[in-house]
């Protein structure tokens, strides 16, 4: 099992100029671990990260879009797996932070925690490539390849909370930061 912040730190070492969309705890931690104007945290409602990322991927096919989704969030928008597979953006990398809980909402377990085969769902929906990682070494080893491959790619990251980082929901949904993101993306 990986710790989420360690997992993000590994990603930071491999990151080049990708757009990174993240939700809830991953988004909170991303703002501390890898601040970047191409971070997109403005998802506004639970479950919507995968759909925002699809809009970005379709709108900027020249940029890789990496999403750090939550398992509770994905369960709330499972149909988006089919929508994404149907739209088939080659630049879409859908990473799932599978921690088995609604961590932001009191750490209550998700239904069938630990027993859902998310990669099978993604495959059945039509994602041509899927991965599953439960240790940092494998994630670190494969990440460069994943960031080069044609998508949509689904990556299940089995994790648990690591170090605690301060939460700031106003920052996550800030219009000012969203506008900075738009400007940075325009120049990128």
């Amino acid at each position: 099992m990986m710790q989420r912040d360690e997992c993000l730190k590994v990603f930071k070492r491999h990151r080049k100029d990708e757009i990174v969309v993240a939700v809830y705890m991953a988004a909170q931690e991303m703002t501390h671990i890898m601040p970047n104007d191409l971070n997109y945290t403005f998802t506004g409602a639970m479950g919507q990260g995968s759909s925002h990322a699809l809009g970005l991927a379709l709108g900027r096919p020249d940029k890789r879009v990496v999403l750090f989704d939550g398992d509770g969030s994905l369960l709330m928008n499972l149909g988006s797996l089919v929508t994404i597979a149907n739209a088939a953006p080659k630049n879409y990398i859908h990473c799932l932070c599978e921690n088995g809980t609604y961590e932001t909402n009191g750490s209550v377990p998700i239904p069938r925690a630990g027993q859902i085969r998310f990669v099978d769902m993604a495959k059945a929906a039509g994602y041509p490539k899927t991965y599953e990682f439960s240790n940092l070494w494998d994630w670190d080893y494969e990440l460069d390849n994943i960031l080069k491959e044609d998508g949509p790619i689904f990556v299940d990251l089995k994790m648990e909370p690591g170090e605690a980082y301060p939460e700031d929901f106003r920052r996550l949904y800030s219009i000012e930061y969203r506008d900075k993101f738009r400007e940075a993306l325009k120049k990128s």
């Binding site: 998802t43 506004g44 759909s51 970005l56 709108g59 900027r60 149909g79 219009i175």
Partner: protein, 169 residues
């Protein structure tokens, strides 16, 4: 066909005039046959089909962040199902989500708020409560409302809805 009858080709012309390339859609009986199917065949548009309408609210917002204009087509039932996304993503998130919404079951020539159909009757009050601008398109001349409504949405980065009151031919 009466001159005042709503025509799909007029709506499509206005959508194009407003600079829309991406159309995000979940089929609606009022607009599917003449409007959505024609749009899907038109190479000027890129259609993204969704499984649930709230996905579309967010896809349009992602497209806006990437510098594109888009239109979300759905039935009024889908709009009601997407209220939380509209709240958080479109209104509070200040995203210019432009929606074209079919009012299935609305009686011809009757204002939506006067409809005997409960779901149709509450659409405008729901949008008013959320502070979302809306425009009723029922007859041919009403299509002139579409371009200014889209322009205003993008200028103000606020969502808006065009309510289609009868099946365009």
């Amino acid at each position: 066909m009466a001159d005042s009858e709503l025509k799909a080709e007029d709506i499509i012309r206005e959508i194009k005039k407003a600079g829309i390339h991406f159309v995000v859609a979940l089929p609606d009986r009022v607009t599917s046959h003449h409007l959505l199917k024609t749009i899907m065949r038109d190479p000027d548009f890129k259609v993204v089909q969704v499984c649930k309408e709230d996905e579309g609210i967010s896809i349009c917002s992602g497209l806006f962040a990437a510098g594109h204009r888009s239109l979300m087509m759905m039935q009024y039932t889908g709009l009601l199902d997407s209220v939380n996304s509209l709240r958080g993503v479109a209104v509070e998130g200040q995203n210019p989500v432009c929606m074209l919404v079919g009012l299935l079951g609305k009686e011809p020539g009757v204002a939506p708020t006067q409809s005997k159909k409960y779901g149709v009757k509450i659409i405008e009050p729901v949008l008013d409560a959320m502070g979302i601008e809306h425009h009723w398109v029922e007859e041919s001349g009403d299509t002139q409302k579409i371009v200014p409504a889209i322009e205003k949405a993008y200028a103000s980065t606020r969502p808006m809805a065009v309510l289609i009151g009868r099946e365009p031919k």
